[in-house]
């Protein structure tokens, strides 16, 4: 029966949504742990270098990001986010096996002649020889960035799953009014 197949699909969507929510909570906890590690490392670095040595006053007057976010959308499904290096070669990222579309806006930027300049490590904002705790803080927050991209993908998938679930429920109500 059509109603039976629809109910089975509804059940599988429900289970998928619940497992995604569980995974979201796990990744949230991991992100929280990474950020807390980063705070502790920053506190140690501040203790070693002086209270005024690590903070917004030391930010560079010009910043170039070394990582950026790429959003890709499957042909039938939610978008996913990945954190990649900002200067990575775009054609190398897309293999023939990857059946995904990348959203483009406007023409591709022509590479400037100065693009070969190596971006400055943000650690150098705070001094040449920085303590190990500052490097640890950087590593913790970089791990947090990867987790943030995973969480963004999960949130998008959950929203997509919720809309699918709502559509199926509406269709089921039309086919089978139920005891009411």
């Amino acid at each position: 029966m059509e109603v039976q197949a629809l109910r089975e699909e509804l059940d599988s969507k429900c289970l998928q949504l619940l497992s995604d929510l569980e995974e979201l909570e796990a990744k949230r906890a991991a992100l929280n742990a990474r950020v807390e590690e980063g705070w502790l490392s920053l506190a140690k670095a501040r203790y070693a270098m002086g209270a005024k040595s690590v903070g917004p006053l030391q930010y560079a007057s010009r910043m170039e990001p070394q990582v950026c976010v790429r959003a890709s959308e499957a042909q039938d499904g939610p978008q996913t986010f990945r954190v990649i290096k900002a200067n990575a070669q775009i054609p190398e990222e897309v293999g023939p096996s990857e059946a995904s579309l990348r959203r483009r806006k406007g023409p591709t930027k022509t590479k400037e002649s100065g693009s070969s300049v190596v971006p400055q490590d943000p650690l150098n904002w705070f001094g040449i020889l920085v303590p190990h705790s500052l490097r640890q803080a950087q590593a913790s927050f970089r791990d947090g960035l990867q987790l943030a991209a995973d969480i963004a993908s999960l949130q998008t998938r959950i929203n997509w799953g919720l809309s699918q679930l709502r559509g199926l429920q509406r269709k089921l109500k039309e086919l089978d009014p139920g005891p009411a």
């Binding site: 949230r28 950020v35 506190a43 959003a71 650690l123 970089r142 969480i151």
Partner: protein, 114 residues
């Protein structure tokens, strides 16, 4: 679309994520982050958040003071840019107020599962 992470957060978390090399401050001095201090007004935070929502080079927004922009956050229905609520030592993450979890909770009403 290639985007960037956008931290709108307190000082230590902002410093940490900028150490992760996501900060951008171009020649026009337009940053992709906002340093929130004691004297930062809610209007300033809301305006910055809406500006980040409308920029087309943004893929993910990291925010911890989600309560101040709760209305704009709930009204934001597109999948890009994704808005992530991250922890802060002054504002721990509250699952009861999370947009994603509240929508998911509303989905499982008793009538719909009958």
């Amino acid at each position: 679309m290639a985007g960037r992470g956008k931290p709108v957060t307190d000082e230590d978390t902002l410093t940490g994520f900028l150490l992760g090399s996501i900060g951008e401050l171009n020649k026009n001095r337009h940053p992709n982050f906002l340093v929130v201090e004691k004297d930062t007004t809610i209007n300033e935070i809301e305006d910055t958040f809406r500006m980040f929502l409308n920029r087309d080079d943004i893929g993910i927004i990291l925010i911890y003071i989600a309560e101040t922009v709760r209305l704009a956050l709930d009204a934001h229905g597109r999948s890009i840019p994704a808005v992530l609520e991250i922890p802060s030592n002054k504002h721990p993450h509250d699952a009861a107020k999370d947009s994603i979890l509240r929508r998911a909770k509303g989905q499982f009403a008793a009538e719909d599962l009958r």
